[in-house]
Symmetry: C2
Subunit: 225 residues, 2 copies
């Protein structure tokens, strides 16, 4: 079986244009996204890697690859208007039966073990979506402002990779875009497929704030000790 | 109106006995719980402060207070078997009509502004439970392993303080303990009261891992700049 990794680093939206995008910031002296790509490269399925990037950032990325002598082979694809269209652009490059993992570029601490397990589970049962239990109590609040407690054992915070057999994923991404599509799992679920969760770990968080970057450095340093 | 703050630092459970409990660890050179108590002391409602602590830790705490010349007045109450019984023990000390905020000792970055707003809202509408939106997609998975996407705009991660008018809170805590009681809001909700959420901020996280402590230090340092 063929395996792919689609690393989503950002679309053409304006939100990313302000400063240097998070995926290029240095984490232990190396751009965040290089850590992410390396994790996928290190897993036994040896996936083919496709990076989805705002077209305006292609040249920065190529410069960084040269500067850091980063030579893991990957394809670059231009991002779309939203994440949905970015993923769609990457899927257009995949024309064979495969298992496809979609992953946020700004989750550099994903472990190769979890990636490998996600590929195995998706190959076996169609899909695997990495998620962790919530550490906090969770409430559901409807439009009328009334909130209710959810059973904490039944609520999961979704991360990536979200991994699918290619036919399932490509069929799902043929749907019209809906606002409820907050991740790949919601797109695939809408196409009528049951989603299987796979236990992730809390370390696989998204780099959103500067403090997250320092948190990630601490975790990496603890691991290397 | 009288205001109380119940700072819950831990029960008599074994989980806390392993090492120095998190509430005593140093954050910018001062035990975590002193930051927490100071936040409540700094808010305009000037609440009376009750700290619930594992009885075995009373002497450490008293020593720390002396060592750090910590002189904010507070009562100490022994923790119970679980958080539910710990809060119950504190409520037994309150015999007047009041507004009571219950807060985790290990959330030292709570802002006095949010505490003040919680007291005001609880005074006004009966209760106020601080919560933040989830940054991640959220799935609900039932016992059969089937998961489904929840509308991210309708799902909130609950923090503390959870603030209630005393009669509502005391009546709720007269119920028999149930396993579904993961926080005060779930106890009060079970007694038939609608819960009102109040927007918190992401900085008000729980100190759980060593990295959280360093994250908290970074946030404090940024603030003081």
């Amino acid at each position: 079986m063929k395996f792919f990794a689609v690393i989503v680093a950002g679309g053409s939206g304006t939100r990313m244009n302000a400063l240097l995008p998070k995926q290029f910031l240095l984490l232990n002296g190396k751009p965040v996204m290089m850590h992410t790509i390396t994790a996928f490269f290190s897993c036994p399925q040896k996936p083919e890697i496709i990076v989805v990037l705002n077209e305006q950032h292609f040249s920065i990325w190529k410069q960084l690859c040269e500067e850091y002598q980063f030579d893991i082979k990957h394809k670059l694809v231009a991002g779309g208007k939203t994440r949905f269209y970015s993923v769609k652009n990457a899927l257009d490059l995949i024309n064979e039966t495969a298992v496809i993992a979609i992953h946020d570029a700004v989750r550099p601490l994903i472990s190769p073990q979890i990636i490998a397990e996600a590929y195995r589970q998706a190959l076996d049962v169609g899909n695997a979506v990495v998620a962790v239990p919530s550490k906090d109590s969770v409430r559901w609040q409807n439009v009328n402002g009334v909130s209710q407690n959810l059973n904490r054992n039944e609520v999961f915070l979704v991360q990536t990779p979200q991994t699918f057999q290619s036919d399932i994923l490509k069929r799902a991404y043929k749907q019209e875009y809906l606002e409820e599509f907050t991740d790949d799992a919601s797109v695939v679920e809408r196409s009528g497929v049951k989603i299987n969760l796979l236990a992730g770990d809390q370390e696989n968080f998204k780099i959103t704030f500067p403090a997250d970057l320092q948190m990630a450095e601490m975790i990496l340093n603890e691991k290397s000790r």
